[in-house]
């Protein structure tokens, strides 16, 4: 990550926006079946990955006294998830990292926010649900009566990254078709 950030700055002279999107659902299953290995497999990507990404992105942004970071969590970063405890815990951690980093960065004019998507039509959701029928029944639980499109989330990410969100930091945006409103 250090290399990536350094090469970006070497080529372009600065870093305006960072979107930390890399994540994994790990190996879903009940708490009683989890191990140190399943924990590490999920937390290394979702939590350590987000932490180290922000570490190097903020190193540049704090020095240039500008920039916007958008992390990606999940509605499961706000609620529990039966059968996906480690995933849920890791996304809660991303929410905490985001708010803490936002507080550290604010004095330098750098903003840090997180988007918390509900079910979105991605490979991860397909792996999570397993079958077309289960995916359809999940979509039926969303007030807007569909799963999200990746573009729905991308638009929110772009908003938070932009100057239109200049007074928003440390915030978590639920983008879930109303699922959390229930």
């Amino acid at each position: 990550m250090r290399d990536l950030v350094d090469r970006t700055v070497a080529r372009f002279g600065r870093l305006d926006v960072a979107v930390n999107c890399a994540g994994t659902e790990g190996k879903p299953g009940p708490v009683t079946e989890q191990t140190a290995e399943t924990y590490a497999a999920t937390f290394d990507t979702n939590v350590l990955g987000t932490l180290l990404s922000m570490k190097h992105e903020m190193r540049v942004m704090l020095a240039q006294r500008s920039g916007s970071i958008v992390n990606v969590s999940s509605t499961y970063g706000h609620t529990g998830a039966a059968g996906a405890s480690i995933y849920s815990a890791s996304k809660h951690a991303v929410e905490g990292l985001t708010r803490s980093a936002a507080l550290e960065a604010a004095a330098s004019g750098v903003r840090v926010n997180v988007v918390a998507p509900g079910p979105v039509d991605t490979g991860m959701l397909n792996r999570f649900t397993g079958t077309v029928e289960k995916k359809a029944s999940l979509a039926a639980t969303v007030p807007l009566n569909r799963v999200g499109r990746p573009e729905d989330i991308a638009q929110t990410i772009m908003f938070l990254a932009s100057d239109k969100a200049s007074f928003i930091t440390g915030a978590s945006y639920l983008v879930d078709g109303g699922k959390s409103a229930r």
Partner: protein
């Protein structure tokens, strides 16, 4: 205003990919990192065409990482 410089992790699939395309369509310099070099070669031509300013098609800079700079 200067062209935005945007770094995106997890940009090969799903939400990260949609974000990379959206920022590129917006005219930003988009730097993406993905784990695994083989996957990195599967960027479809349509994504590359979005690139307003193709600088280096692919740069491998670490054992398990690759960055694509538009």
């Amino acid at each position: 205003m200067n062209t935005q410089v945007v770094l995106i992790t997890g940009a090969l699939t799903g939400i990260g990919r949609a974000a990379a395309i959206a920022f590129a369509q917006d005219g930003a310099h988009v730097v993406v990192s993905v784990a695994g070099t083989k996957k990195g070669k599967s960027w479809p031509p349509s994504c590359k065409r979005l690139a307003q300013r193709l600088v280096l098609p692919m740069v491998t800079f670490a054992k398990k990482m690759m960055c694509v700079i538009w």
